[in-house]
Symmetry: C2
Subunit: 300 residues, 2 copies
């Protein structure tokens, strides 16, 4: 089961007790950090995030409000004597910036930090239960989105029924894969009689900072939840175009065209103190929409 | 009149709702920012600091907890379309880090940013009413302290007495400088009869991160207020030595040897949730000591 916890829902200028972009995608015990604006580690304290469980960090692009908290977080891991490796995925120049900062501080990290530069769209991470893919979005500088997708799950064995039908426990792994069981007398126990269907696999797409761009649609089509930026309301569409950002209405149009199940809006401009209008505007186009709030976890 | 407002009083790992190092020195309408740890701009929001009045920023050294908030603050100035120049004083590699960050973001600032690399100790800034000097302190990497010193002030004219004695207003500027007045009949009006002595000029020394080092004493001798780091209590003296930091007792010993008037302690390790012991330990050596608190302004 995937979930998304918002650490920062604002655009670049922190205001109204909102913070620059950062969020955590969780899959069971695993935490994946997506973007890391200034103050992310402080938000982690505030929301009691178990940061030691993060092993993978994804940075969408090199506007400061998406990564100025990264060097501090990496430093803090070292101060707390972390040993587990961190895998960092980001635009190529990020590594140069970090190396320069470490050198200036004469810093030696207590743990291995592996950098994976982002390039063409593709699979970044292939774990036992899920994958993470990158896709390109359209912003003022090179920018990537990330798609978190659970792998196909196994069927659930009903242990009572399976036992009564005479299936030995050592065959349960095969039951989960969908196989029927043939007992020593040649009698067939049908898989569907002793198992339940696999739970549905879900996916979450983080669309980062992007202008309205329908070429994004195939990358996120059918996702269970997407996060799409909505820096402005639609009366500021011209400004959004100039700055390679989107409006709430545009985010909803993308969600509708991609036939996703739910939409989360974020990256709100500091000019807006209140956010209700974002939800209202988007809901006219795509009803299953929420304005993301810091500290809230959204189940995918 | 100088004053110091604390924005962050903690060492590198933000905790217990304490933040990395940053403080503001104010002189009338002027604000000087000293160090800029991660989250400084968010602390400025919290404490309603008028950041447009900052024209000079001083960075003591390139450990992240003293400057990881700088790029974000400089960006935010640009987002709010600042036009006034900023003068930035810091270790030479800071400029390279910033340039790389601006380049990666394809950022063009809306205002002139002038960088002044720190070198030998000396005067950094010579304003009408005050000077700012740098001095070297002893940390693991090159590190500077800063001394803010009011210039000699002028005597205060008592306008009623001066008028009654027949001194014309156009001579008041000379009275402030200490001159006597001779009237057309050759009669002398003694300056001290129609003026009050100049208010005392005060000084504030920010000693940055430093190990216990008595060679610091001449740089700060006689200051009205000093800020000296006290990362640890004195039972952690060995650790302090290893990390080029100081204990509360050591900070007090420096204050005593330098015969300063008052001592502010800061840069507390995250291992300490409560800070009373810092004051108590230091006060045994140097009684006029305070533990600095975020959001509090200390008059020099």
């Amino acid at each position: 089961m995937l979930a998304v916890t918002i650490l920062g829902n604002n655009s670049a200028l922190p205001m109204h007790d909102r913070h620059p972009t950062s969020q955590l995608v969780t899959n069971g015990e695993q935490l994946f950090l997506v973007d890391c604006g200034e103050g992310t580690q402080i938000q982690m304290n505030r929301f009691k995030i178990r940061r030691s469980r993060i092993h993978h960090i994804f940075i969408s692009h090199l506007h400061g409000d998406h990564y100025f908290g990264l060097a501090g977080l990496l430093n803090s891991y070292s101060l707390t004597n972390r040993k587990d490796p961190i895998h960092l995925y980001g635009p190529e120049p990020l590594w140069e910036v970090l190396q320069l900062q470490f050198k200036a501080a004469a810093a030696i990290l207590s743990y291995p930090l592996h950098f994976h530069p982002l390039g063409e769209a593709g699979i970044l991470l292939d774990e036992k239960k899920m994958t993470v893919e990158s896709f390109l979005v359209h912003h003022r500088i090179p920018c990537w989105g990330f798609l978190f997708r659970e792998k196909e799950k196994l069927r659930k064995v009903d242990p009572k029924k399976a036992f009564e039908a005479g299936v030995p426990p050592e065959f349960f792994a095969s039951l989960k894969e969908g196989e029927d069981y043939m007992d020593p007398e040649g009698r067939i126990i049908r898989n569907s009689d002793v198992t339940k269907p696999a739970p549905r696999s879900v996916s979450y797409a983080y669309c980062a900072d992007t202008k309205y761009d329908e070429s994004l649609v195939p990358s996120i089509a059918g996702a269970d939840l997407i996060y799409h930026e909505a820096t402005y309301l639609d009366d500021q569409r011209e400004r959004a175009i100039q700055r390679f950002h989107s409006t709430a209405k545009q985010a909803a149009m993308i969600a509708q065209k991609a036939q996703v199940k739910r939409l989360l809006l974020g990256h709100f401009s500091s000019k807006y103190e209140f956010l209700d209008a974002f939800r209202e505007e988007a809901a006219e186009v795509f009803p299953d929409v929420e304005v993301c709030r810091e500290g809230v976890t959204y189940l995918v």
